[in-house]
Point group: C2
Chain length 243, copies 2
DNA sequence: ATCCGCGTATGACGCACGTCATATCGCCGC
DNA sequence: GCGGCGATATGACGTGCGTCATACGCGGAT
């Protein structure tokens, strides 16, 4: 029983890119100290303010990072398989600055902080991998700030889905498929608007065939049509009163 | 001449917290490889897309990081003395993702990438300092994203100045002084709005004595009054139709 | 079957704020 | 002196979208 479990954890460790640079014996050590946990959609991995005692890496599934503001929640980021979540908090002995929630059935690997630091010190390659992830995160936040400003809601939603298509889109016969179950509420939280506005845009695009919501996924028949739907807005006649 | 200069660079290196953990001989080595440059207000340190060939640390003065979007510019961050700027870009061999501009007479220390990496590898303490700065940056961006959403312009400007007061405010007889020369345009770019809106809010607050613009600085007579000016908005009667 | 809760959808209303136009006040160069 | 330029200011106008209300379909609980 426990044998089977530890065998499974070892294979999980081997499968994660962050641990690829380690020696086989270090991988075994990591596996012996790590734990794997399963979550269902909606499960809270941790809340804002919880102490960060372990490095958590997404093994499969997806996790959203949410900040609760008075004026509604904001989804800061979505992490996928292979990505470390909350590496910053663990590193700095700080409480988690935001809440983490599973968006689908998800399994996570947990590595105690102690061991995390040891790896950082002994394996420069591991450290670089972590820093690279931090970089991705920073750039993504940067882009988010830039997009948040001024832009119309339609534009932001279009950009969101174009980005998602780039990150996790699969080409199919009918266009690009984004295999992600996002509620209208979640879309709203990602672009910083209200549910109603998100619904209005998405249902209209659904009718127009620009972006079709399906069973736990979205379809983008044409990247270009989505892009221009976001750009030209309700611009009807000539003259450009829009920014 | 060159002697005097290198002497000066050495003292600069010694004065920067990031290099404090180094051995004296390493400090001397860093100083011998580093360079110091001076800029005036408005000078461009680098543009978006420029190759990042050196780690730059603010010695004195202030630098703003700007992203040029179609719909206007956005100020992402302001760096002060002691803080490394663009550490991410250098680390990842990537072109700078944003433009850096001096906001005041500013001097910067430039350390070639090669040496930067050597320090990272040989001095874990140095690496930790860098990661700590990255952390601060990430958290700051996180907060920015959260504030950008939904909030009214007044609220965002109030939060901006409360934050600045916290970061660089000095208590005086008339209140908190923020010794920073920000044009209305720059305020607008920091909170993601237009010059006109920023002007309207700031000039009104000036008349009301909530936030007074002075010669290259701002005065906040009362933190609380500024806070409530941002919160209650034009809410007059009871009932809360505002978010 | 009935009720409740949740996600989705759609309409009406109003306001905050972006846009455009205009004006004043320095400061600089000639 | 004058004209041009940039920063600050203020008013008028239009609208995107947040707010509120209402409605419908669906799954789970009793």
């Amino acid at each position: 029983m426990s044998e089977i479990r530890s065998e499974r954890i070892l294979s999980v460790v081997r499968s994660l890119p962050v641990f690829r640079g380690l020696t086989p014996e270090d991988q075994r050590r990591v596996a012996s100290l790590a734990d794997v946990r399963e979550y269902r959609r909606g499960d809270v991995l941790w809340n804002t303010g919880d102490p960060a005692e372990a490095l958590t890496v997404v093994v499969s599934g997806r996790v959203k990072i949410v900040r609760h503001a008075d004026s509604g929640d904001v989804i800061l980021e979505i992490f996928e398989a292979g990505e470390p979540v909350g590496a910053i908090a663990v590193y700095n002995y700080m409480p988690y600055p935001a809440t983490a929630i599973a968006m689908e059935p998800t399994s996570m690997l947990l590595l105690p902080r102690r061991e995390y630091f040891e790896l950082l010190d002994r394996h420069p390659e591991f450290a670089r991998g972590i820093i690279r992830e931090l970089t991705k995160l920073t750039l993504s936040l940067t882009r988010k700030v830039e997009e948040m400003r001024g832009q119309r809601v339609e534009t932001r939603i279009a950009q969101l889905f174009l980005l998602l298509a780039e990150r996790m889109g699969k080409e199919t016969a009918q266009g690009i498929e984004v295999p992600l179950h996002l509620s209208r509420q979640e879309v709203a939280e990602m672009v910083g608007t209200t549910v109603e506005s998100a619904i209005r845009v998405l249902s209209r695009w659904g009718r127009e065939g620009v972006l079709v919501t399906g069973e736990k996924r979205f379809m983008i028949p044409s990247r270009d049509r989505l892009r221009e739907a976001g750009e030209l807005a309700a611009s009807n006649g000539p003259g450009k009163p829009l920014c």
